[in-house]
Symmetry: C2
């Protein structure tokens, strides 16, 4: 069976795996990114990781179909460069050609959220569906749109930036420079910010501003805390409206929600479904289930592997 390497390049770890044609992980591994050592060192680490994965799977490098790499930033497909990767401090770093030369394999670059979406759509929660919108709720709100067996890349690999839909033009400033982007409200960061703002106004709550995670907010809401309940209600309602907007454009068969916050389970998915149905045209809502992601942290490497297997 054909196999390929999938790499998920993150700010803390570089994850890698050998993926087979059916989407199984043959072997996986991860190494620290050590951003401070610079791009050249990171490319070297990716090379070493690929060699170690091949050894672990007892496959000759030359028998692999290629290497797919999910990168958390903006890419230029024509040149194979990472144009801007904020988490790594990269600007205009050539990735494809140097790695191709070192490894002698085809290299495929993709945005990391797109890779994860492709993984979930292929063998995760979107398996068997023809179209999927996949989001990851973390520090931001990452997104990818999968149509047929391919991720929608767009004119310059910017498609699927669901986290940057401007939901409220008068909202808080986003890292991207705009105001009121979905991820200023419905990400882990957004929920913590909203809760802290209310605590700072002196509202009564069991929440502790000095130690506050989305899990704390969900836990407090479950105990009837009003601040926590209202913050979650707003964040989830806004997310439901964002997904409804995306769905009336894409009309997908499934919407997959992953990332740390998706572990809240029913406390997230029940109100999220209600809000989605409230804002989406009924014919759109009736065909699009909202379901939790199933691949967890493996989605990125699986999707990146798929890129190399099927591009």
């Amino acid at each position: 069976m054909k196999k390929a390497v999938g790499i998920d390049l993150g700010g803390t770890f570089i994850k890698g795996a050998i993926i087979d044609e059916e989407g199984h992980i043959v072997v996986k591994n991860e190494i620290p990114t050590e951003v401070e050592k610079g791009p050249e060192d990171i490319l070297k680490r990716i090379e070493v990781l690929v060699h170690s994965l091949a050894r672990g799977a007892s496959v000759a490098l030359s028998d692999l179909a290629g290497v797919g790499i999910g990168i958390p930033g903006f890419l230029d497909d024509a040149t194979g460069m990472a144009v801007e990767v904020v988490n790594l401090g990269w600007k205009d770093v050539s990735v494809r050609d140097p790695l191709k030369e070192r490894l002698g394999l085809p290299i495929y670059l993709e945005n990391d959220a797109n890779s994860a979406a492709l993984g979930e759509a292929w063998v995760g929660a979107g398996r068997g569906r023809d179209s999927a919108i996949c989001i990851t709720l973390g520090t931001g709100v990452g997104g990818g749109i999968v149509l047929g067996a391919r991720v929608l890349r767009g004119a310059n690999v910017m498609a699927g930036e669901i986290g940057h839909m401007v939901m409220d033009p008068d909202g808080a400033r986003c890292n991207c420079g705009r105001h009121g982007c979905l991820e200023t409200v419905s990400s882990a960061t957004g929920i913590v910010r909203l809760a802290k703002e209310r605590l700072a106004r002196g509202e009564t709550s069991s929440l502790n501003a000095n130690q506050l995670t989305p899990a704390d907010v969900f836990a407090a809401a479950a105990q009837g805390d009003i601040v926590a309940t209202e913050v979650l209600s707003y964040a989830i309602d806004t997310l439901g409206r964002g997904l409804a907007i995306a769905a009336v454009l894409i009309n997908p068969e499934v919407i997959v929600v992953g990332g740390g916050m998706s572990r809240a389970g029913n406390a997230l998915f029940k109100p999220l479904n209600a809000s989605f149905k409230h804002y989406a045209l009924p014919r759109v809502a009736e065909v699009a289930d909202i379901v939790p992601a199933t691949l967890g942290n493996d989605a990125g490497v699986v999707g990146a592997g798929k890129l190399a297997l099927y591009s």
Copy 2:
């Protein structure tokens, strides 16, 4: 050269044309819809129209590639039925099979906004671009998304419903039942409604509530009328934000704006571009021009013809 028939089924007229492989209109014609006579009569009229078009182009019916039909409502692709067409008062009307039987030609059904989008993307303002978002500003805001040479249809032919993105959850009630859809604000109907609401509040304006079109609002704004200026500013800013939201999801090469209101020219396109750039990620905005549609009322028949030629 291969030719096909494109039909644009509207509430007032049924437009039809013979389209060649290069997107030229060989001959076109239109007949009244006469909705009140019911679906059976309308299918009969389409049959008669197709025969007369073929005669006009001196083509034997059997030499045509097929008939594409743009329908202003919800479709079921599996059964070839129009599930709901509000303007025609249709519910569950079988269209594909009866016409196929009468004409002996393949019949292709498409949503009318999708047909128009396909026409503009093919040989109109989107010619030569690989991806396009096309909208029509009229009574509502119609939309279609074209990727590669195909219109995005989605799971049940509902993709591209840009007019029903909920921009303001506290906004006015939409015909679809939701509140604050884009078309409650940025359509011809929306602009007239917003202006009338302000006149009803007794605000000073040169506008006449009893005779009020978007053209009147544009004209008054050009003369410095404050109500007209503010209404347009809000409607256009909301449209710019809606297009920015669609663009960060789709990352298109071009955005085509048609319909009666697009005749306002710079008075529309200049602020619309500014608003779009304000709300879209810079890398998304820099590749996506907003341009006026060029096919006018022919977009629908051209796109429907393309469906029949290239499906």
